[in-house]
């Protein structure tokens, strides 16, 4: 091959390679800001000074692969983090977490579930529907104290649900987070689970078997 033809080939390769990367980028990308996450409904309630939220993420376990994994006889961990964002900001002000661990007992034909919530750990035996309710729904989850929110400003939850997170550290950090007193969900820069939206919702994607992210509708305290 003559030198000009070789150079032309090189130019063509240069031009094509980045285009290929861009072409595949679109369907995989996470939004740049938490407000742009897919929205789903939640129920909010004030319990005295505490803001509680109830929402569902059942679809994280709805596919056949996840259902099969639930009945594999080996542990499955569903770790949920709900970050409280002020509308228009990318850094969360509070965090509520919930970790569920499920093992199917092959011979007793029952699911053994361990749920870790703020100030509470419990073991239960359940059938499949019970597992889905226990492990893929947040009910009356304390997400913030009133004092942590600015009155009149809209807030929403940015939620990350991981199935079988690869990093055991993340699960351990969540467990430690849940040992804080009720309502102590405010995040400081020194907290292990602190980060901006890109760190929490974009860079950590694909560090588990399956990840689900969404936001809830806004709430004005």
């Amino acid at each position: 091959m003559s030198t000009p033809r070789l150079l032309a080939l090189v130019v063509a390769l240069v031009a094509l390679a980045p285009l290929d990367a861009r072409a595949q980028a679109t369907p995989q990308q996470q939004p740049a800001h938490p407000a742009a996450l897919a929205q789903r409904q939640a129920n909010y309630a004030w319990d005295g000074d505490l803001l509680r939220a109830s929402f569902s993420y059942r679809d994280v376990l709805s596919d056949p692969a996840s259902m099969k994994k639930l009945s594999s006889g080996l542990p499955v961990v569903i770790a949920m983090r709900a970050y409280v964002y002020r509308q228009g900001e990318d850094v969360p002000v509070a965090l509520a977490t919930r970790v569920c661990r499920v093992v199917y007992d092959l011979w007793d034909e029952v699911y053994r579930v361990h749920v870790s919530e703020p100030e509470r750990e419990r073991d239960q035996a359940a059938v499949l529907d019970g597992v889905l309710r226990l492990c893929s729904e947040a009910r009356d989850l304390v997400v913030a104290r009133r004092a942590a929110l600015v009155a009149g400003q809209p807030y929403f939850l940015g939620v990350v649900v991981d199935v079988n997170p690869v990093s055991a550290d993340v699960v351990e950090q969540m467990r430690r987070w849940m040992s804080r007193p009720t309502g102590s969900t405010e995040i400081g820069p020194a907290d292990a689970l602190f980060g901006n939206f890109v760190q929490l919702f974009v860079r950590q994607i694909a560090t588990s078997d399956k990840t689900l992210t969404f936001r809830t509708q806004s709430l004005v305290p």
Partner: protein
Amino acid sequence: MRRGPLLLAIGILLGPAPARAQAVHTWGAQPDNPPAASTPAPPEPPPATLGTPVPGSASGPSGPPVADVAPPVARSPDAIGPRYTLEGLEVRGNTSTLARVVLRYVPFKAGDVLDVDDPELELTRFRLLGTGFFRDVQLSLRRGTRRGRVILVVDVVERNTIVVDDVWLGIAADVDPSGSAKPLGAYGGAKVTETNLAGTGIALGGAFAVADQQLGLRVRLADPQFLRTNWIAEGELLYNSARDFFGNRDVLVYDPTQPENEDYAVAQYKRFGGHVGGGHDLGVSSQIFLDYRLERIDASFPLAASDHRGEDVEPIDFMLVRGTSILSTLGATFVNDTRDEPFLPTRGHRLVAGLDVGLSPLGSDYPYTKLTLRASQWLSLPWGHVLALEGFAGSIFGNAPLFERFYVGDLSDLLPDRALDLAFDRRPAPNFLSTDIVEIRYGTYAAKLDAEYRVPLYRGARSVYGVDFFGSFGVYALANEQDIVNHASGYTGLATWPVDLTFNAGLRIDTQAGGFVFGISNLVGLIPVRGQQSGAARP
């Protein structure tokens, strides 16, 4: 100058484009088809049962709490799963990989008591994914023949195991056979490995590099579990037909086959031989490798040649034994690697220490000892970017052959790296600091400090795993013993320190086929800077 725009476009690719070891993504299999645009509606939220409902909630408080679960049972929070007796193991989904190859990585056997909380189960999955043979691995249990007994099932999804380890493509400043400078010459090459040969788990690799009158070939065979032990066994055959260039455009040559006054003196040599070695894990993140190398070298170069070194004229050392010689070495390499990813790491460190000893008592014509140390640290910054810091130091004591010495192109991003030990470029260091490093292409002492800043642009989970923009800046030094004890004349003060700067910028792309770097440095390197072409100090 009419070639300028064309060269600018080419330059993006000119930087050495090494494809690193294939990134092993240990998360589960990705769906074959991405989710359709019309995804099902998200589930309705459960009703709130405590407190006062907030206006705007999906629905008011209603409905009972969870009722269809059995009463709580008392269990330890860290061990909720039962224990079974393992009745057997079963491998599914393997069409080309032998079941015994899969089972090598499973540390359980029939009769063992299996605790479902045993972390070894998850590690087994990662170990199998880490082989690179499989796109996905899932472990599960099924009932055995009697109550309390189970069978451990390993489901694998095999993947394409042909991996592109390296790709080289670019242009370099070359020299014609008579020793005259040529403006540009193309070079290229690739290294490809089948990591699971016929399903045996043995890796077979080949590599080639080619440039004008240069050819390098490699064939490599590696067994990651030699004789079913924890030792890695490896053997490689090599052939190089190479040449190298000496001097800085004003050499004097005494050789009947080459004109007396030429730009460069040219040495030509052929290498044929290979190495055998073994490696062993020293814990989760450390490995040690030992190898023995034996090569025959046939070298020809001018009977005598001289070149300016500073203001003096000195004979050229071709760093090879004329005619036929033997190179025989023993080597040891220690690796400690805690990176979270092989190609676009965001945290962790990598330490590589190497020792090579020429076995002159056993017939080697090159008595030398080579020590190298490379340490890298990756730091994840709070705003999502990555900072990488790297240090390298190396020294050679004795008479090492040319291709074993430290080469300026391997230290500077502005010159092409060597590929399969072939040097494609005749130029010395760019010499931004006007020091006597311009007199040195090969050295016995080398050091480099480098910092790289990366900005993630894209993350995916299918064929392209990630794209990062990077910018790097470094300082390096290269010297021989004489450059330290008797530096080149004509240089004074700090100019006697053979130090130079290097930089690069471009894209790092992690793909299913390997990692690729598209940098602008090689283009920048083709723009001469002061002192580069003829040396900073000349009479």
